[in-house]
Point group: C2
């Protein structure tokens, strides 16, 4: 890691307001405090239990029920709630935002984020949508940790009329949280993430549900023999259902386009199996390995054979 990971420095915002303190919100809190990036942090959640827990964990100085109360005096506001909540939140916080404040988000879809938030931003407030491409299958304020963004990419999708110094400041914020930053259009973001994240999650959810509704194989058998590959899909399919519902409702076109390609390719593979075309199968399977090498080379996954992880909770890497 050649960037600012782990290096505490001068705060660049006096107050950060996190609207939502689930996996991503709580991880931002941990990483921002690790880097000494902000004066203080407040948060908002509609759920009493979440407010209590976020304060207990010290993620924030104070939690509010109303986003409008949390944003007062904040010079950085980040929406960390499901994408389906954005329009209402943007509308309610708009009149209470500080002049000069930066408003951003962490949602997995960006065109819809711009559509739902931008119209409610008052003059003098800088709205720049963002998406840290990082996560785990866990949810809630307890799920966060400071290292989540280390070495991962955060995509920012500013409008053409963006204030350059606000953009630079948000970019520095993410770099000091541990991320590398990439700038692209909301539309391109949604296309890239449809294939690298949204469709993979959809097919993981799908196969888990297919397996659960078979007549000839019981759920118990599916679970018992899941180490043959299935368990990795159950892991992905354990992600937050409401967050993912909103992703699919708000990135419909790109997801349907990529899903069309996926199904077309799967039909070709199915045909190769039906007609015993081993050469086609071997060729396709071999090509997939090259992409895997790329992912490891780009440091976006470890080369360890994690797929063979141990069942015990004090799991260690296998001794070789």
């Amino acid at each position: 890691m050649e960037n600012a990971v782990g290096r505490a420095g001068e705060p660049i915002f006096k107050r950060l307001a996190l609207i939502g303190v689930g996996l991503i919100g709580s991880s931002i809190s941990h990483a921002a405090r690790r880097a000494g990036l902000v004066g203080d942090i407040v948060g908002a959640s509609p759920t009493p239990g979440t407010r209590k827990r976020a304060e207990e964990l010290g993620l924030v100085a104070k939690m509010y029920a109303e986003p409008a109360d949390a944003v007062r005096g904040a010079d950085l506001v980040i929406l960390c709630s499901p994408v389906g909540t954005y329009a209402d939140i943007a509308k309610t916080i708009g009149p209470h935002l500080e002049k000069g404040a930066i408003v951003s988000d962490v949602g997995s879809v960006k065109s819809a984020a711009v559509r739902d938030i931008a119209p409610h931003m008052p003059q003098g407030v800088h709205f720049i949508a963002g998406h840290p491409v990082a996560g785990t299958e866990q949810s809630g304020p307890d799920a966060g940790f400071a290292e989540l963004f280390d070495g991962r990419w955060c995509i920012l999708t500013p409008g053409e009329d963006v204030d350059k110094s606000a953009l630079a400041k948000l970019q520095e914020f993410w770099q000091r949280l541990g991320s590398e930053v990439e700038i692209m259009s909301p539309e391109h973001h949604d296309m890239v993430l449809a294939i690298t994240s949204h469709v993979p999650h959809l097919i993981a959810y799908n196969i888990v549900n297919t397996a659960a509704h078979l007549e000839r194989v019981t759920d118990k058998e599916v679970i018992k023999f899941s180490a043959g590959g299935f368990r990795d899909f159950t892991r992905i399919a354990a992600s937050d259902p409401v967050m993912w519902r909103d992703v699919f409702l708000n990135n419909k076109e790109a997801v349907l386009e990529m899903l069309g390609r996926f199904s077309e390719d799967l039909t070709a593979l199915q045909r190769a199996i039906r007609f015993g075309d081993g050469a086609t199968l071997e060729k396709l399977f071999s090509e997939a390995r090259a992409i895997r090498r790329g992912v490891i080379h780009a440091n976006q996954d470890t080369p360890q054979p994690d797929f063979g992880r141990r069942a015990t909770s004090d799991a260690k890497a296998p001794q070789r």
Copy 2:
């Protein structure tokens, strides 16, 4: 682990012959030596480099080019090569097997294993097909480790006329390698594994290839932003292409049946996305979580948020 894991005991076979020393063959060697299960181990591989490496690693006392040479004097022979090689190997070793020897295999399909091996087994030799449901995405003699089978299931699919004491001996062998043992018919095995292993691998290979051939998203982008879910599919799709080709060629009917169900369910999800049916999406996504809890409860995966694993090679579990 309440079984015999890690406890060295009396050898129950005087000589084990491993026909193939890839991930599974080399892991059997490690685990059998850990448990003191066998007098000595020999192996066979058609590849000079593999023979050299297996001897260097001490996996076997001696490697042979010809399976027929390896099985002489062995009272346990395990085929650990791709399923497509079984018929030829069975034919060539048949006349050289010791009377009373047990012959087994580790292939991911069992009806085809019985079809290809059983006819070549001489009178007085006990053939019992098997499948340890464990693995990693890595291949070759360097990939094995002693803990691979710990707490995993090994499925045995004996014929109805099986010799009970031979079955009990093979069962003890697998238990002392660390596994739990389940007995079922070859046909049922192939149906269970089609959904828990074969179709998951097929769709992982498929989405990696779909992603590699898009016009609007570059390979570089796919790799860079793979932490959103895609990287887990590349991990599964890094498994051995020849082994998997043979699995699909030899479990055609069950795979096509399960693939049909998968596609039907995916079409329903696609339709829910197209028509903005959030309730259906959320319901399906929520149901998938229950299966995940079952997998963890059955000790077939760890509850740690591995999905958020760190990029560095000295990866640790996230600090919480």
